[in-house]
């Protein structure tokens, strides 16, 4: 079935559904005045992104996305939002601002500019069937083998960064040490 020159497959419909909801929830993050609703929209977006990662054969990273982003980072966000709300109920309200139309215009221009420059050359690129050796490129085994061989130095560097992050956040959050 062809619609406007695009071959419509069931896969494309599934992708379209997920992508539409993800895009709408991304807009919701910016639009909602209530920070909890913004956070909720972002949770939906991250959750759906995990499914998009699954469609790209990256099952390990998709599930990591859910564990790290929806399971940990967004809960932290909600925790802080609620903690601030508890302290000052009016602290998080925003008023209208002349920056808004300018910012939206900027965003539209960014989208238009980059898509006009990047997309024309890539229009015809379609996914090819992965060979059996490649179809597991997103599996935990393949990922682990690469991470602990070729990328072991960045891995260690990131672990130090995380340690610094832990120490820093404890220093910031604790009243008395």
């Amino acid at each position: 079935m062809d619609v406007a020159g695009i071959h419509v497959t069931p896969n494309l419909l599934v992708f379209g559904g997920i992508a539409t909801v993800a895009a709408l929830s991304a807009v919701g993050v910016v639009v909602f005045n209530n920070a909890v609703r913004s956070a909720l929209c972002l949770v939906i977006n991250f959750f759906l992104l995990a499914f998009l990662y699954f469609t790209l054969n990256c099952e390990m990273l998709g599930i990591t996305q859910i564990v790290v982003y929806t399971g940990a980072i967004m809960v932290l966000f909600l925790f802080v939002i609620m903690l601030l709300n508890l302290g000052a109920p009016q602290a998080l309200n925003e008023k209208w601002d002349p920056k808004r139309p300018i910012g939206i215009l900027l965003g539209v221009m960014l989208f238009g500019l980059v898509s006009a420059q990047v997309f024309p050359g890539l229009m015809s690129v379609q996914a090819t069937e992965l060979s059996p050796a490649l179809s597991t490129f997103g599996s935990p085994q393949a990922l682990g083998r690469t991470l602990f061989s070729s990328y072991v130095f960045p891995f260690e560097a990131v672990s130090i960064l995380l340690l610094i992050g832990i120490v820093g956040s404890i220093l910031l959050a604790k009243r008395r040490i």
Binding site: D97, R100, A127, L130, G165
Partner: protein, 114 residues
């Protein structure tokens, strides 16, 4: 996924990135600005994984996925780790500012204006 062109994934990533940029520019709540930054990071992640998947090739020596396929995923792992550290510290900073000044409006944090 077969049948979905590369441009579809890329345009979703670009759209999310633009929305994130707009959010950073127009919002005044630092937590929402933070969330928009996360949105931008995730759109970049999506783009990395898309290119990793569409640039599929075999490493002739090992017969496994080529380094170019793994590099995209590795970048995503590191982005996630850095984002996690960033969120922990950033939210700590926001809490500290709130405790000091009892407001989190980003336009009022202008002590360094000179």
């Amino acid at each position: 996924m077969l049948g979905v062109p590369l441009v579809a994934y890329l345009s979703l990533g670009l759209f999310m990135f633009s929305v994130g940029v707009v959010g950073v520019v127009v919002r005044r709540n630092p937590i929402v600005i933070f969330m928009c930054i996360e949105l931008m990071l995730n759109s970049v992640n999506l783009t990395f994984l898309t290119f990793a998947r569409f640039h599929s090739s075999v490493n002739p020596q090992t017969g496994l996925a080529a380094p170019s396929m793994m590099a995209g995923q590795m970048m995503v792992i590191f982005v996630m780790a850095v984002a996690a550290a960033e969120v922990a510290v950033g939210l700590g900073i926001i809490m500290a500012i709130f405790r000091l000044r009892h407001t989190v409006d980003i336009d009022e944090m202008n002590l360094l204006k000179g």
